[in-house]
Amino acid sequence: MHNALTADPLQQSRGQPLPGDFAIWVFIFAELTVFGVLFAAYAFTRSAHVDLFNASQLTLNRAYGFANTLLLLTSSYFVARALRAIKTGRNKACGNWLAGALGLGALFLLLKLIEFHQDFARGITLSANLFYMFYLSLTFFHFMHVAMGMIILAVVAVKAYAGRYTADRHTGVETGGSYWHMVDLVWILLFALVYVIH
């Protein structure tokens, strides 16, 4: 399966620089490091409190987590399509794909807010126990990244609609897209760790 996917008929040359502005990649690597350390901290803390973590984990609504995974994966796909569109010079299509991604991002935030609301109503706070501390820190921190990513994508979308990008000059789309895919990547790890693995 993996082979079939990587067999790109375009035969695009390897050895390209990172997509988008290098500055965003410094930020992406910094953020990935923070999340990586947080994930490891979660896992090792859990190994000292397995029962507490397993019991608390069961109180989470995994359906929310799954729905949010689908939303982010699809929005990431939309962003990838937006990049394809601009590479063929279609500004409007690029904008539309980005708007779609933004819509899915907004749905993600809405769903997460509902989930937070229900958590707080049940008395879950940062100080409730170690699991909830990690759960809330990780998801809130990620939530902020989604919000930040949406601001970036919105700026890129507006520029796309305004025709500021061309098939040859579209670094902005790549920059915003790379950040958004990082947010998606982090959620994939976060979903597995906090909602699924037990």
Partner: protein, 141 residues
């Protein structure tokens, strides 16, 4: 293809991360602000405790001592001194200073009234009950 690395994007990253992490810190601070009165028994901050704290501040006790590890490392920790020494010892100790022992670190004489010393002890008692995540490690501070 040439790598793109622009100053304007670097600046945006700088400003963006400033705002981003400030918001996160403010959100956490909001939560902390709700928790602190619970953890330090703010309901037990009586008028006497407040007077005691004012004396501790205006006599610059942290110029030699530490309070919850903050201050100066010239004299012992005050967070748990109430539990370490007990109120009676403290009430006798403060007015008896300086000890005048040659070479030993000296604590000044502050001319406190007995009522003022009671206030200081009340403050130290309140301080000893703050939840500091089990710090200091033992009674010696």
């Amino acid at each position: 293809m040439q790598e793109v690395f622009t100053k304007s994007m670097a600046r945006n990253i700088f400003l963006g991360s400033a705002v981003f992490f400030l918001i996160i810190y403010l959100a956490l601070t909001y939560d902390t602000w709700q928790q602190i009165p619970v953890r330090d028994h703010a309901d037990k901050i009586t008028a006497s405790v407040i007077r005691g704290k004012y004396l501790v501040d205006t006599n610059d006790c942290i110029g030699c001592h530490t309070i919850n590890g903050e201050g100066s490392y010239y004299a012992p920790e005050l967070d748990n001194v109430y539990k370490r020494r007990g109120p009676e010892f403290i009430k006798l100790w403060i007015p008896a200073q300086p000890s005048g022992v040659a070479g030993r670190r000296q604590m000044p004489h502050f001319n406190f009234t007995p009522a003022q010393i009671d206030d200081i002890v009340a403050y130290l008692q309140w301080l000893s009950n703050v939840d500091t995540n089990h710090w200091p490690p033992n009674i010696e501070g």
